[in-house]
């Protein structure tokens, strides 16, 4: 196990990994943020080690944990790194005013775009890639979203975490890039069709009022203090245009079914 400490947005963030190569790579990639002060590990990166089992090809997964939660499990090291870097951006959101930042995720299915609380994706992710793959859902690479204040569209996050030039190209030396992961990255402005929140009711899915949906979406805004009420006005267009639902807090399979039910609803 190797550990690195990085200073990001005034926070001291520790990352540990099972791979010495990954640890070296991360130190290089985040050289601008390296801290000599030892941080408590927030993230753990498990890099899959190639194994030979009776000649059978076996898909290998790399896993990124935040605390005890696996926020992504993927065969593609680049996808894992994109997820890690997007999560690190969160430490800088509180001081930013170039967009509204929220710990929400875009999940898509058949062209329908849903904005769901950030905790939902890793939760249903525990069901496994094959099961999720059969549903037709596309999960996000990023753990957070940026919302354009003028339009309420989800827009690409302008990265502020400084990554050393060319570092991403060196990832192939850390782990073989033989895995594919069709997760989505927000690369252009997106309009949201469905807004999902998690409630305390027992019904798996219920429509919620626009007021409650706005309040719940607002509660996920990371730079609320910086933007004030303007943040809530900024996300209002999403609420006004989207269908708004609440899913019950339940087991992963039940929450997945609830999400699929929403996607199937016109």
């Amino acid at each position: 196990m190797v550990e690195g400490s990085y200073s990001i947005g005034g926070a001291l963030v520790g990352v540990r990994s099972t791979s010495r190569e990954f640890g070296r790579w991360l130190d290089h990639a985040l050289a601008a943020h390296t801290s000599s002060e030892k941080a408590i590990p927030v993230y753990s990166v498990v890099i899959a080690e190639p194994t030979v089992s009776a000649g059978m090809a076996k898909e290998l997964y790399h896993i990124l944990y935040k605390g005890t939660i696996a926020i992504i499990k993927t065969p593609d090291i680049r996808t894992l790194v994109r997820t890690l870097l997007s999560d690190l951006e969160m430490y800088l959101f509180v001081d930013r005013d170039d967009a509204i930042f929220a710990d929400m995720n875009v999940v898509t299915s058949d062209g329908v775009k849903a904005l769901v609380p950030g905790s939902v994706v890793p939760f249903i992710g525990t069901l496994g890639r094959r099961r999720l793959g059969r549903t037709g859902l596309t999960l996000p690479t990023e753990t957070v979203v940026a919302i354009e204040r003028s339009s309420g569209r989800v827009v690409p996050i302008r990265p502020m975490v400084e990554v050393s030039a060319g570092a991403l190209d060196l990832l192939d030396d850390v782990a073989p890039a033989d895995g594919q992961d069709p997760r989505m990255v927000v690369e252009q402005p997106l309009s949201i069709d469905v807004l999902v929140s998690v409630g305390w009711g027992t019904d798996p899915v219920v429509p919620v009022t626009k007021g409650l949906a706005l309040y719940r979406l607002g509660s996920h805004v990371a730079n609320l203090e910086r933007l004030g009420g303007g943040a809530i006005e900024g996300v209002l267009p999403i609420v006004e245009k989207a269908r708004c639902y609440e899913v019950a807090s339940a087991k992963p399979a039940e929450m997945l079914d609830a999400l699929l039910q929403i996607f199937r609803t016109d």
């Binding site: 009711g201 007021g211 309040y215 719940r216 607002g218 509660s219 203090e225 809530i232």
Partner: protein, 123 residues
């Protein structure tokens, strides 16, 4: 006394959507959700009338009994005081940052229940 003619703080930011409202409190960095009844009461709390007078106005518009409306308005104004919306009242501490305010009791949430995600309350 501020409590006799309730007046909501001028620095609160109110975003109305349909007949509900979301209130942002910049001092507490907290969001509050107001259901339609609470949103109406919030708008009327401008320091011009007592709770009874507000209730009489609402009762007249709704064609409802003043006493029934008065009970609900008192309850909502009480929640506003607890939330620190009314001038002269300090918000009571809550374990989280967001709340909801409900004016009536025929919802799944009890009337005083404060649903609390990271920044707020609901009334």
């Amino acid at each position: 006394m501020a409590g006799l003619r309730p007046k909501v703080r001028a620095d609160l930011v109110v975003i109305e959507v349909d007949s509900e409202a979301v209130v942002y409190d910049p001092e507490e960095v907290m969001l509050h959700h107001l259901n339609p009844t609470a949103a109406v009461v919030f708008k009327l709390c401008d320091g011009s009338g007592t709770v009874r007078e507000l209730s009489e106005d609402i009762a007249e518009v709704l064609g409802a009994s003043v006493n029934t409306v008065l009970r609900q308005v008192r309850h909502v104004v009480g929640q506003f005081k607890q939330a620190g919306f009314i001038e002269g009242y300090i918000p009571k501490p809550t374990p989280h940052a967001h709340t909801h305010a409900h004016a009536d009791s025929h919802t799944d949430s009890p009337p005083d229940a404060m649903e609390v995600p990271p920044h707020g309350r609901s009334a």
